[in-house]
Symmetry: C2
């Protein structure tokens, strides 16, 4: 339910990256890439699922997880009003740099 909290964990961000790069994955394949036992990864997957960032689909005895990027829009939307701030500051920095003599 809370996208920002779900993204706070490096492990969970890494899970999202794996799903983005590889597409749908069973738990075991994901778990292979972490120095962590499977039940711990299961908990991370549950947090991601509660946040709507992944979906799960049974396939035989496996469960295939895939990326569901929609909730990331909330983050992108949240960032929007800050963009002009860092653009202005980057522009200011650019001016300062342009004002320096060539080396």
């Amino acid at each position: 339910m809370d996208v920002f909290a779900a993204l706070a964990s490096p492990t969970r961000r890494e899970v999202l990256r794996l799903l983005r790069e590889r597409g749908e994955q069973p738990v075991q394949l994901l778990a292979d890439h972490f120095a962590m036992r499977r039940p711990s990864l299961s908990e991370h997957l549950r947090v991601l699922k509660d946040a709507g960032l992944v979906t799960e689909r049974p396939a035989g005895r496996q469960r295939l997880y895939s990326l569901r990027p929609e909730p990331l829009r909330e983050v992108a939307d949240w960032l929007t009003p800050y963009e002009r701030f860092w653009r202005e500051r980057m522009a200011g920095l650019r001016e300062v740099l342009d004002g320096l003599p060539d080396d």
Copy 2:
């Protein structure tokens, strides 16, 4: 140091919003908008400062905090590779909607 973790708290996101909308603010003015004692807000401010999201400047007996949006670029950059995913999905949804009969 960890921008994503700093953004996980609704209180801290609200602090950033206040600083964005009002500019530089002393602690007391910020604290007035939360149902929380001042020392707790001080801790949130420290987390934001450690993440580089605010700067602090002494002014008499006050300390003025202001927004420092640069670290948010890290978040925006992290989001970038996911953008095409939700765009594709939105496009797909659009097609479905377009295919529906007018009501």
